[in-house]
């Protein structure tokens, strides 16, 4: 009897250890489909995080494994290598891959629309974009913030190579560079955006609503998309559908109970409760019903993406314009 109990305890301990070491087959719930999800602290991943934490994914029989990446390009590289099954990403990276002709992924939804979570931050005394002439502006190259900066400079007819010094800084270095006065202005996205904005004597000069495509298509410079690895979706169609159901359930939760959602997300983003709550509230969280109009036939969002890729070509960020429609698959909705 004692020996049997000891054996059972030993097996339980082994399983627990295996689970903590990340052996997927031993630790996952029986029958659940494992989805390796590529995320980060950016608001585009709030839906997946909430759905995972509240059990909405589990309800869809999905075992969501969160993998954090600091850049969209790193996340997309993991998708290409087959290590991530579903990812949220800023669309610039996805468009760059589409321009290279990569067919390993499909766009399946867009979870949100944000306009106030990214922008150009300046010190008091700078009142217009023209005041930045001759100054240093820190931004992460190849990001949506970079696209925003290039566009607003172009709108003001300011040459980014001659009239201002655009300094390439990783998102992690932007705050310290701004704080140390190494740059006069910074273009960033949340949570770095919120942290810089909270510094004394700093204000938001322009946000995504100043982006030229936002004015005409409500398109931010790097809107969030959800995408799936084509091979994964082919074998796990129901899991992809279930994933989207959980995502839109989480979006409804954030819309109805932003306070509760903010408390949960603080663990992911390290923002204060007030900052977190305001980020949730100022973002439009799409429902599943919204998706048809956005993604299908041809979908306002998809039309906007096409315009964005044309703009990226003009800004010399990509080599060719992909036909975005060919990468969109709205049948999982």
């Amino acid at each position: 009897m004692n020996e049997t109990r000891r054996r059972v305890m030993k097996q339980a301990a082994t399983l627990a250890a295996a689970g903590s070491m990340g052996f997927p087959i031993l630790s996952r719930a029986a029958g659940a489909t494992v989805i390796n999800y590529g995320g980060s602290a950016w608001l585009g991943h709030y839906s997946a995080y909430i759905a995972m934490k509240t059990g909405m994914m589990a309800k869809q029989n999905i075992d969501l494994r969160w993998q954090a990446f600091s850049t969209s390009s790193a996340r997309m590289a993991a998708v290409m290598a087959g290590n991530v099954d579903i990812a949220g990403t800023g669309v610039v990276s996805a468009l760059a891959l589409m321009a290279s002709g990569a067919r390993q992924f499909q766009l399946i939804a867009t979870p949100n629309n944000f306009g106030k979570a990214e922008g150009l931050l300046v010190r008091d005394g700078v009142n217009s974009i023209n005041d930045l002439k001759g100054k240093k502006i820190g931004v992460t190259y190849a990001s949506s913030s970079h696209v925003l900066l290039l566009d607003i400079l172009a709108q003001a007819k300011i040459d980014p190579d001659k009239d201002v010094a655009v300094i390439n800084l990783p998102a992690t270095e932007l705050l310290s560079a701004y704080r140390a006065n190494q740059v006069d202005a910074a273009v960033a996205w949340t949570p770095t955006f919120n942290r810089i904005r909270a510094l004394p004597g700093t204000k938001v000069l322009l946000d995504d609503s100043a982006f030229s495509l936002y004015k005409s298509y409500k398109m931010s410079p790097g809107p969030d998309v959800l995408l799936t690895r084509t091979a994964f979706a082919k074998d796990n169609r129901d899991a992809v559908k279930g994933f989207l159901i959980a995502i839109f359930e989480a979006n409804a939760f954030m819309t109805k109970k932003p306070e509760e959602a903010a408390k949960m997300l603080m663990e992911l983003t390290s923002l204060t409760y007030e900052e977190q709550l305001s980020t949730i509230k100022q973002t439009e969280w799409f429902s599943q019903a919204d998706q048809r109009a956005l993604m299908d036939n041809p979908g306002d969002f998809v039309v906007g993406l096409q315009k964005l890729s044309e703009m990226l070509l003009k800004l010399k960020q990509i080599d060719s314009v992909p036909q975005v429609r060919q990468w969109v698959n709205a049948t999982y909705l």
């Binding site: 290409m80 990276s93 760059a96 891959l97 002709g101 190259y141 390439n168 310290s176």
Partner: protein, 257 residues
């Protein structure tokens, strides 16, 4: 006659090397064109060449090479200027070694990348910050090469010179320096290659041009042809600087031949 034979042998070897390189490029091109490999994962040589020509037209190719070359040279020569005298001193003085050994042991395993946060605070987002990354990544290994080269001098030669009445300075000038110079120069050739790897770290932050920046930016946009081009250019530049170094070595150490 012997010289002509040697020339013919060298030409034959050179032809074999060239043929091997051509065959490699051809095979690479064929594999890529067959569609066996997605161009996002590995671009064909012709695609890389196309990217090089486009960048040449935009004048960005030379600008990138020049920016990285300048950073490498400044960082490398600063490291050499510090490492040679300090290394010789450490190689010949046990007391100096006892003083600096613990510090060197601490610095030795640090990769150049680990200096990014501190150098950013010390020098800001300037060129000096980039030179300092190359310097910090090169100086410790350069020091170790010099120390080892100095310690490798046969003590009998030093004793013989002293027995013949040479003072400390004469021993240094006539025995130690000529004795360790070949090994120091060989070591510096290796360090120069290492400096090129450091420049990639240096160009991760606040760079607008340079081969490291070019690779990183290409990576962000999945332009693997740009990434491969950056890699090829680094190898090519190291190859050229290596040849220049060999010429310097030959003229400085002509007595050895």
């Amino acid at each position: 006659m012997a010289e002509k034979k040697k020339w013919l042998q060298n030409s034959a070897l050179l032809s074999i090397s060239a043929a091997s390189l051509l065959a490699f490029l051809l095979l690479w091109e064929l594999i890529c064109r067959s569609g066996a490999i997605d161009p996002v994962f590995l671009p064909a040589p012709s695609q890389v060449l196309g990217r090089a020509l486009r960048m040449w037209d935009q004048n960005s190719l030379i600008a990138n090479i020049a920016a990285s070359g300048r950073r490498v040279m400044v960082g490398f020569f600063a490291a050499v200027v510090v490492a040679i005298p300090l290394g010789i001193m450490l190689g010949t003085s046990r007391v100096a070694r006892a003083v600096l050994d613990p510090i060197l042991s601490f610095l030795r395993p640090l990769p150049s990348m680990s200096w990014i946060p501190l150098t950013l605070l010390w020098f800001g987002i300037t060129e000096t910050q980039k030179y300092s990354i190359v310097f910090m990544g090169s100086v410790t290994p350069a020091l170790l090469y010099v120390i080892e080269a100095t310690q490798g001098i046969d003590p009998i030669l030093i004793r013989a010179a002293r027995n013949l009445g040479a003072n400390r300075w004469q021993v240094m000038r006539e025995v130690i320096l000529p004795g360790c110079m070949p090994q120091i120069l060989s070591g510096m050739k290796v360090i120069l290659g290492l400096s090129w790897t450091c420049v990639i770290s240096a160009e991760l932050v606040a760079a607008k041009e340079g081969l490291g920046f070019m690779i990183m930016n290409g990576k962000e946009f999945f332009q693997t042809d740009t990434v491969v081009l950056g890699m090829v250019l680094i190898s090519f530049t190291v190859l050229i600087t290596d040849m220049v170094f060999r010429l310097i070595q030959r003229s400085v150490l002509s007595w050895q031949q």
